[in-house]
Symmetry: C2
Subunit: 440 residues, 2 copies
């Protein structure tokens, strides 16, 4: 029990998977976008796998290749998670919410209501929203980074103060005396900054974990400042080798330390996108099926990674000797060296791509043991406290939970059951109510 | 079937009832505020009663006598209704949302996501938020009425345009061709006014009723202008006699007509607060139990209504002959003449109050037949299209559904089952998608 174990999480997206054409995969119904039962099933799978949380990235806007790819986010994170919280009992949830395009009172209220509904299983991924497509939906142009993060600090401060504005023992509810609340313990916060203000109090009692966990994603100098001060979860950026990832984790840890906290209070998660099958060949074949239609865009991208001119008409021919000889890993793309390594093994461009070499996260390939080996190596190399499963298609979550999780458990790397009932307990981070007195 | 029947709705509050001390009633657990199952049960009761919708008033703030009374609103309407939508199949929901303290994109997204989740059962009660306690939670002071309503028009226009920005047949989802959306049918709205703007589109497909219904409450010149243009439901203000209520209904109907719509597209609901028992005496006794602790405040209020000086020490003595002789109905309070009438019958002040004479809506008293008689008279007098049950305590919704509804059905005044599955069908109002082309 005292041995440190890895944590796991998975992605809540629009109901298909993080691969933009997953909606065409045979196991997905094309109408999953509006079928909340698909999300309920994912949450139950994550719970069966004793995952710490489902992570719901969110962009309030229509971006990317909308003609051919399903939207990336759920219809609305608060609406979807309200249902999932009600249909599960243990798994946690981290939903993304903008610090720039929400009123602190509204955001504080919805997240704390969800925290109470879920009995202490909610987290808030606080993002500043810098995508021009998203900000246009609020009639704006992208605000300068410094301004966005200044507001983000105000926002988190006010939200946490509102969360703490109903004192932990304020709820008397004495039928005989008729006292419902001890109003000495429910006081206005009267907080305001340059951008936003709120008087409070917020009339929502504490949840089983006190208040929602704060999470942060994205890094950068400003992002680290935010995460170091307030976050219990940091979701790492797209990194592909152990050294870079471990370095990012260290940056987060020292940001927490600099803010006056214990570095262990900030759990760092890094992404992975497993490609599973009973053998490497089968795993590749399954992924090729799903990626079937992506060759026209992706084969030329692979060419750029290898310094070769490639197009989709050559997708199924192994690279020639002269091609392999002149191939060079593109130093500007951290995924290139792995692509080159796989090319040397003699695969065709389509097969190389099916190894996930242009996925947004490292993609271990093969049978369950191979996936478990990757996670074991990564965890033992100290690159992360937890791993964030980005399932190309939702079905991979089931495969992973049913086939990889038992191996990790057998190896003593992963818990056999939840030890507590709240997200804070799952993460092993301290209870917090209101603002953190150590952080100014 | 072709005979016009009344519609019914009930109140979704914080889990006890609209009487502020309902949390002390023996049938309520003092912790109902955080127990969503209580709300689920109410929704199922309303559905058993074939109600058109549950109505969730909402004030984003802590107001009133918080020490002794439970909060009036649910923890958060979107969070609560997401669960209720998932746990029911027919009953509709109308949630209150501020036109002043929300971004149109956020509000449009959450309500349409809920409309999709509920398969077309959502409505939005658009309010401008003028309570100083609520607006202080947004760091503001109350805005002038003209400004609030100018913004409200912009808000509803933009929200409805966003709702319609995903064309009704835009969702192709053709696995073979790989086309997910027909982007010709999904276009930015590029709408902006003096206060707010949004580019869009909103990436949520139509629900079974197209998009949520708009509702309006509160009246006044400005409120009528809003309701006439956009609303399918108007919830009337506190009126106590048939003539006044019918007049308010007519004002709403002519506002709709003036906006270029058919007056029948705007359904007017008026409130009622039944006090039920197998006899009048038992009904009064039950209500007295619940109001037990209110005498100190309410007996003097009754005195003011009757032009008498009364205090709680006299709560249980019938009014004396001289008192009855000098009593006069206070012309400034429309509830006074009924209070006087009941006083003449010889009841004590506490008993007069237990007739609901200072409730916020007319309060018929007695056995189920008496409640049904009241609704029949009111409906046949043409005062409303529907009645909004304000249950003093949640349990009254069960009593009403199990005992009064069957009488109304037997009398042919109320439907025996839902005819359709959407809120628009329940109300008998036309489908709408995007903005109403008749309204400018
Ligand atoms: C793993 C990860 C997840 C992210 N999730 C979101 C998200 O859900 N929504 C969002 O608007 N931005 C998201 N971001 C973007 C970051 O919040 C941040 O805006 C971005 O890294 C750009 O940095 P900047 O804000 O310093 O310009 C994510 C970033 C990373 C690395
Ligand atoms: C039946 C009814 C229900 C109402 N519900 C709400 C509500 O839930 N939230 C709110 O802020 N105001 C509510 N109001 C207040 C009105 O929206 C409106 O603000 C009020 O009548 C004052 O009018 P004004 O906006 O013209 O100043 C309600 C009013 C009535 C009559």
């Amino acid at each position: 029990m005292s041995q440190k174990m890895m944590l796991l999480s998975a992605t809540l997206s629009s109901g298909y998977g993080v691969q933009g054409q997953a909606w065409r995969a045979p196991e997905n119904d094309t109408r999953n976008l509006t079928d909340v039962e698909v999300q309920v099933k994912l949450a139950q799978t994550a719970e069966r796998g004793k995952f710490a949380f489902l992570f719901a990235p969110d962009f309030p806007g229509a971006r990317g290749d909308m003609e051919n790819q399903a939207p990336a986010s759920t219809l609305d994170p608060i609406v979807t998670l309200s249902v999932l919280a009600h249909e599960t009992t243990r798994v946690g949830f981290i939903a993304t919410g903008s610090t720039t395009y929400n009123e602190p009172y509204n955001l504080a209220r919805q997240f704390k209501a969800l925290d109470v509904l879920s009995r202490g299983r909610m987290g808030w991924n606080a993002v500043t929203t810098s995508d021009p497509i998203a900000v246009a939906n609020y009639g704006e142009q992208v605000r300068p980074r410094a301004e966005r993060y200044e507001r983000a600090h105000e926002m988190i401060t006010i939200v946490q103060a509102l969360w703490g504005s109903w004192g932990e023992d304020a709820w008397v509810g004495d039928v005989d005396t008729g006292q419902f609340l001890d109003m000495d313990q429910i006081q206005p916060i009267n907080l305001g900054g340059k951008h936003i203000a709120s008087r409070g109090p917020l009339v929502i009692p504490p949840s089983e974990q006190g208040q929602p966990v704060v999470a942060s994603a994205g890094g950068g100098e400003y992002g680290l400042g935010l995460a170091g001060r307030y976050a219990s979860v940091a979701v790492g950026s797209s990194t592909y080798d152990f050294a870079t990832t471990r370095q990012e984790r260290e940056m987060y840890r020292s940001a927490a330390h600099q803010a006056g906290r214990d570095a262990d209070e900030l759990k760092y998660f890094t992404g992975f996108m497993p490609i599973m099958g009973s053998t490497v060949e089968e795993a590749i074949r399954r992924r090729m099926q799903m990626d079937e239609h992506l060759a026209p865009q992706r084969v030329p991208m692979l060419g750029q990674m290898l310094g070769l001119s490639l197009d989709a008409s050559r997708a199924d021919q192994p690279l020639s000797g002269p091609q392999l000889e002149s191939a060079r890993a593109n130093p500007a793309d951290p995924r290139s060296s792995r692509a080159l390594e796989i090319a040397y093994q003699g695969w065709t461009p389509r097969e190389i791509l099916a190894h996930g070499v242009i996925d947004y996260a490292p993609s271990p390939v093969g049978p369950p043991e191979a996936i478990a080996d990757y996670l074991q190596d990564a965890f033992e190399a100290g690159i992360a406290d937890g791993f964030w499963l980005q399932q190309a298609t939702y079905a991979i979550a089931d495969d992973f939970v049913d086939e990889v999780v038992p191996i990790l458990q057998k190896r003593g790397l992963y818990h056999r059951d939840y030890q507590g009932s709240t997200l804070r307990e799952h993460l092993g981070v301290p209870r917090q109510y209101g603002q953190d007195p150590r952080v100014s």
